[in-house]
Every structure is written in structure tokens, then in C-alpha cells.
């Protein structure tokens, strides 16, 4: 570890790894620090990702792909299923990754590109000079040190404390925090090529329960519920335990994890003087699906590209780096988050009867695309009144 770099990346998840790799490839001196002793564990993820999205960032490799997904189902409270099949889709649905190996691979690629990688090293506070971030104070295996940098990329995930301590409010409102629990279960009867999403206020209030296969008789079985529904006796773990006792009484749990997915709007600004915020720390998770791996890789890479340009031009002020914020907001990802945020705000108000009615209205359709947009368009076609309730969405549905 040196005491000064062009770019310091905080966090060794997909956002940090892509940032460090991109920055190193552009010829910068780069340091990535990760507070945990091992990259990728414990996993805080259900590990699902669309194939096309993944391929934008890394070549798929069987070493970190647990399952190839051919179909998906959304199951309404009354059991009605909305289906998507690969055969109809004509394109490919998705993968379930093995994130322990995947995250390591991404960080390994960053190291290979020339970045220093240091684990068990936690950024405690930013080094601030005249309101600008100039690096981080860290504890490296308990030893305090200063790491200075022209630009710090905060990719510290859900905790997002670095940007917070540099003056950006990253606090997630309780109602917009998905409180999650998940078991990796084995010896269970599942359809190994199909991901299932269960909806309903009895099953997963203001969230959903998922089964993402990781092999013939193995799957991530997990749940996310809104923080405002989470109380003693009705926590994510309680709902999950109930579902598992009913559906997989003889299954074996080989891993139990917890997690929080921020489903609020993205930070109002993801740039400061000498600072860029990427991935979950920037709150760029899809508010409907909770998917954030692809968005983390996208924003991590973009942050490094903008930082590289600014370092070369000798100006890393907030103003000079604002193109990062502007570009991701205008991107397909940014527009999708904004739209899906509005859709989410509507869907969390629905009771089970309404969810059932909506599901029934589109259950017979063969979907060729399983995007939130495709589902919403079809729902509106069958339930024209929805458009009145979803007024805010009208403009974005083009």
C-alpha cells in the first residue's frame, strides 16, 4: 500500500471492482480497499442477473455461474402465475451467479489490470481539505493510515458511510429499505430452470419472496419486505421460516444470510469535489426488482471513466466531474430506475384482491420479454383504468 494514488476505490463489490479495473486500464495508479477479510463473503444477494446485461461487463464463465435460467414466473397471492419462457422470448433469460466466485473474479481482473487490492482495510473518514475529498483515513488490519488520492470512488454498498461522512446524506428511510433474509437450500423439489417470484401481503408485505435455482435440487430461497412492515414477530426471517416450513419442510439450509436493499430514489447528487459515488452506495438499485449487480458495474465503470478524464485534465472538482451524474441519470438505467420507482410506489399500495385481479388479467399472455416495462404495458392494455391511477407514468411509457 502506497500513501498516495490517482484513484482510491472504497469497497470490493461489483461497483468497486469495475471502477478499479477501468481506472487501472486507463493508466491510473489505483488502490481498492475492502473492509472484509475476503472479497465476496458473506454474500448479500440472490445472485440473479439478465444475460445481456451481464455480457456488457464480463464474459460469462461457468466457474461463477450456478444456473442457466430459461423461464420465470410471478405468482399472485391466489396462485395465478404469469409466465415467461425462453422459447417464446427468443432471447435468453438470465443466470444465477455464484457471487463468492464472481466478486473475486471481478476484483482479480482489477488486480490483473494493475490496481492494488487491500483487504481487511476499512475507510473510517474522508480526508477533507477546503471541502474537497482528498483521500481516506483507513484502518488496515487495525493499523491507522492515510491514503491520499485525486479522486475517491465510494463503492461501499448499502452502508454508504463514506459519502455520508463527506457530506452527502445517504440515509435510507425505513419504509424504503427492503429488509431481506435468504437461505441457500438443498434437497428441495424445484424447477431447476425457472425463477419464481411470489407476491402478496401475507407472503411478503410490500416486497416479494424468491426462489432462484442454483442446481437441480438447490436454490436461493429468500425474501424482502418493507422496513415499515418489519417488527418483532413479522420480520423477513419470520416470513421466510413460515414459507420454508410449509413448502420445503425437509430441505436443508447450507447458508443463511441477511441483507438490506435500498429501494429509495438514487442520491440527489452522486458527485462531490474529489468524490464519485457508485453502486448501492449511490442507491441505484432497481426499486421494483431489487436488482443492483448490473447497475453497480455500470456506475462503477462510468465513475472510473469520468475520473480518468478529469485527472488527465487536472480538474477533479465537483463541477468537472458532474458529467458522471448527468450521464447515468440520462442512461437507460437512470430512466428505468425513475420509471420503476413510480411503479413501485403504486404497487405497494395494492391489497391482495387487486394484485390477484391484475395477475388474472394478464395470466394468459405469452410474454416475449420479462421486463417491468413489458408487464406494465400489458397490464394497462387490459386495465385501461390503471393509467388514471398511474398518471405519473404516462410520459415514461414510450
Amino acid at each position: 500500500m502506497k500513501s498516495s494514488y490517482d484513484i482510491l476505490v472504497i469497497g470490493g463489490g461489483p461497483a468497486g471492482a469495475l471502477a478499479a479495473k477501468t481506472a487501472a486500464e486507463a493508466g491510473n495508479s489505483v488502490c481498492l480497499i475492502e473492509k472484509r477479510p475476503a472479497i465476496g463473503t458473506p454474500v448479500r444477494c440472490a445472485e440473479g442477473i439478465g444475460k445481456e446485461l451481464l455480457k456488457e461487463f464480463v464474459k460469462p464463465d461457468p466457474r461463477w455461474i450456478s444456473a442457466d435460467i430459461e423461464s420465470a414466473r410471478i405468482i399472485a397471492p391466489n396462485g395465478t402465475a404469469i409466465r415467461l419462457d425462453q422459447a417464446q422470448a427468443g432471447n435468453e433469460v438470465g443466470y444465477v451467479l455464484d457471487r463468492k466466485v464472481f466478486d473475486r473474479e471481478l476484483v482479480w481482473q482489477a488486480a490483473e489490470a494493475g490496481a492494488d487490492v487491500i483487504v481487511k482495510t476499512r475507510a473510517t473518514v474522508p480526508i477533507m481539505e477546503n471541502g474537497a475529498v482528498r483521500g481516506a483515513k483507513v484502518l488496515s488490519a487495525g493499523v491507522p493510515a492515510d491514503i491520499r488520492a485525486e479522486v475517491v470512488i465510494a463503492a461501499d454498498g448499502t452502508e454508504a458511510q463514506f459519502a455520508r461522512r463527506a457530506g452527502l446524506d445517504t440515509t435510507v428511510p425505513l419504509r424504503e429499505m427492503m429488509s431481506c433474509a435468504q437461505y441457500v437450500m438443498t434437497d428441495i423439489d424445484i424447477n431447476a430452470g425457472c425463477t419464481d417470484f411470489f407476491l402478496g401481503n401475507e407472503i411478503a408485505p410490500e416486497g416479494y419472496l424468491w426462489i432462484f435455482p442454483k442446481g437441480n435440487r438447490t436454490a436461493n430461497v429468500g425474501i424482502g419486505i418493507s422496513g415499515r412492515k418489519s417488527r418483532e414477530g413479522t420480520r423477513a426471517k419470520d416470513y421466510l421460516d413460515r414459507f420454508v416450513a410449509k413448502n420445503f419442510p425437509n430441505g436443508k439450509t447450507i447458508e443463511a444470510i441477511a441483507g438490506g436493499v435500498p429501494v429509495c430514489r438514487p442520491l440527489p447528487c452522486t458527485v462531490g469535489d474529489g468524490l464519485l459515488v457508485a453502486g448501492d452506495a449511490a442507491r441505484v438499485v432497481d426499486p421494483i426488482t431489487g436488482g443492483g449487480i448490473g447497475n453497480a458495474m455500470y456506475t462503477g465503470r462510468l465513475a472510473a471513466q469520468v475520473a480518468s478524464r478529469c485527472i488527465e485534465a487536472g480538474n477533479c472538482s465537483k463541477e468537472a466531474m458532474m458529467p458522471y451524474d448527468t450521464e447515468w441519470r440520462a442512461s437507460k438505467m437512470g430512466a428505468g430506475i425513475e420509471r420503476n420507482y413510480k411503479v413501485k410506489e403504486y404497487f405497494v399500495t395494492l391489497d391482495d384482491a387487486k394484485l390477484n385481479a391484475l395477475a388474472d388479467s394478464i395470466a394468459s399472455i405469452s410474454f416475449s420479454e420479462f421486463s417491468v416495462l413489458a408487464l406494465i404495458k400489458e397490464l394497462i392494455k387490459r386495465n385501461p383504468k390503471l393509467l388514471l391511477e398511474l398518471k405519473a407514468l404516462k410520459d415514461t411509457l414510450s
Binding site: 477479510p37 440515509t171 425505513l174 418489519s230 441477511a258 438490506g260
Partner: protein, 58 residues
């Protein structure tokens, strides 16, 4: 006072993200109260595993 049950905690960081006071710190595999806590209980609500409890002293 915030009581952390480390045997229940899954060190996921959810509580850290919702704490309005930035009082909590997830230090690789354990959670620690590092700064002043106002006892609001938001972290205890958000925790998926029920590892946190605000205890009011008599």
C-alpha cells in the same frame, strides 16, 4: 441503550444504512455502536433477523 445480539446478527449492514445518526459501524464480521445513539429504534425495526433492541433504563 442499544443492545446488539451478536449471536443473532448476520452482519448485513441494513441497520447501518437506516440509522439517522450514523451511529453504527459494521466492522467486517461484527456490528458495533461507535457513536452517540438517540434510541430511536429505527435500526431495530429494519433488522431482518431481530438482532437489535433498544432497552430503556429505569
Amino acid at each position: 441503550m442499544l443492545r446488539i445480539n451478536r449471536d443473532k446478527c448476520g452482519y448485513c449492514g441494513t441497520c447501518v444504512a437506516v440509522c439517522p445518526e450514523d451511529a453504527l459501524e459494521l466492522i467486517d464480521a461484527y456490528l458495533s455502536l461507535e457513536r452517540e445513539c438517540i434510541g430511536c429504534g429505527i435500526c431495530a425495526r429494519a433488522c431482518p433477523l431481530g438482532a437489535l433492541e433498544v432497552v430503556h433504563e429505569e
